[in-house]
Amino acid sequence: MFTGTVVWASSGDEQHKSKGNPIDTKEEIDAYIRHHLQDSHDFIFYTDGETGTHYGFPLPVILWDGGIKTFMSSKFHHGESVAEVGGSYYKLYHGKVYKTDAEGTITLDDHDHPTNAKPLDFSITKSVVGMLFAGLLMLLLFSALARGYKKGPIPSGFARVLEPLVIYVRDEIARPNIGEKKYRKYMGFLLTVFFFIWILNLLGLTPLGFNVTGNIAVTVCLALFTFFIVQFSGNKEYWKHIFWMPGVPVPMKIILMPIEVLGMLTKPFSLLIRLFANITAGHFVVMSLIGLMILLKAQFGAVGSTGISLILTLFISVIEILVAFLQAFIFTMLSSLFIGMAVAEHDHH
């Protein structure tokens, strides 16, 4: 975490800004944080504010705009120039690709949102890289654990750390919520989602600058998976409780129906909002506290402001490590709770 704060702080002079003018006002820091929270098409570790050189590497851009168009994001020159591909012109504006004319004009509406056409963007963005990395890591670690069982019943080495986690998810999350008989079917989803979210959350705490689970599209996708699994595994009782609640008078049944349908939809909504908001808030707070180093320099001097910022950031970062686990746990827990509600055999009361 310590190195993380330092790298973040040192990469504070980054992006968008003109040469020789480091980010040092409140508005600039705010804009920088907002930029970090968004997905990006290239990987930048450090930008030299004096010369405006970015140190990092570009990522491939894949657009669907009447046909697949692929090119490297270096063509955008970090949003400074227009990329011309197959007769169409594209420009980056606040991390998003817009279709423009040859000059790269972007027209804004009243809310400062561009009115330009947006091509469908299937690029390998930073978040996609993060996801691929997490997926690969999981495959490597857990297939090693699986192979370890061929040698003997007790795993060795790092697999010893992983095995209790798998057992934890199985015994503390899946079994009590879904039930002894049916939990096995959902273990693949629950385990994958748990470790996927956890690894991505932790990846967000490294100085690499990932913010995958703080992306609304990612959490929407995760929550939709849970939503569809719950709906497809719902038994007759489940649907009966939604559309024709047993044991209450008919007028009540009619009133309860829309409420229950709404409840069906708010469950995944709260799942996606919770994960998104927690991670976004965590990143925001950590980066704001790092920003304090620059903002408080005038009042406390370089050493004082750095010290204050360091202690606060360290404290919040430790909490964020806990939150990283807690959010993965909560997501998996609630998913299995919803699945358990859908497959439960009700005793008739």
Binding site: Q38, D39, K96, H111, H113, L120, D121, F122, S123, I124, T125, S127, V128, M131, L132, G135, M138, L139, F142, S143, L145, A146, R147, Y149, P153, E163, V166, I167, R170, R184, M187, G188, F189, L191, T192, V193, F196, N215, I216, A217, V218, V220, C221, L222, L224, F225
Partner: protein
């Protein structure tokens, strides 16, 4: 909300859906299934071993009880055998005693009978001898002494006295 909808990237959503789907399938095939199966196997194995140990303990207890029972039986058998032998011995002793007594009685009876018959015979013999002697004496006396009547009578009388003494 507005801001969020604007931030929502359909492309990223699509990529995430594909990656997650593939990841779930791959992990299920290559990791979760073998891991969960191995865990299940191991837990079943442990349960089986525990059950087997409990079973063995029970068996052991049974065996011990069996041993105890056999030992008791053996002990009882030995006791009864000892008792029998003792009885046999006593019987034999009493039998022998009785037999010996009978034999002894028989011998004594025989001896008495013999003694009696011997005595009888002896007495008869003696009588015969006495009679013979008496006749001889009488002859001698009669020849010598039967000169006087008085002397004859005296003799008869003393002789008679002697005879009755026997």
């Amino acid at each position: 909300m507005d801001q969020l909808l604007n931030d929502f990237s359909p492309g990223l959503f699509f990529m995430q859906a594909i990656i997650l789907l593939i990841l779930i399938l791959l992990m299920r095939k290559f990791a979760w299934k073998p891991i969960l199966n191995s865990l299940q196997d191991r837990e079943d194995g442990i349960q089986g071993a525990l059950d087997a140990a409990a079973e063995a303990k029970k068996e052991m207890q049974n065996l011990q009880a069996d041993n105890e029972r056999i030992l008791n039986e053996a002990r009882a058998e030995r006791d009864s055998m000892l008792k029998e032998a003792k009885e046999l011995k006593e019987n034999m002793i009493t039998d022998a005693k009785v037999e010996a007594q009978a034999e002894a009685d028989k011998i004594v009876a025989k001896a008495q009978a013999t003694i009696a018959s011997e005595k009888k015979a002896a007495i008869a013999d003696l009588k015969n001898q006495v009679a013979g002697l008496s006749v001889e004496i009488a002859e001698k006396v009669v020849r010598k002494e039967l000169s006087g009547k008085d002397k004859q009578l005296e003799l008869v009388e003393t002789m008679l006295e002697d005879v009755t003494l026997n």
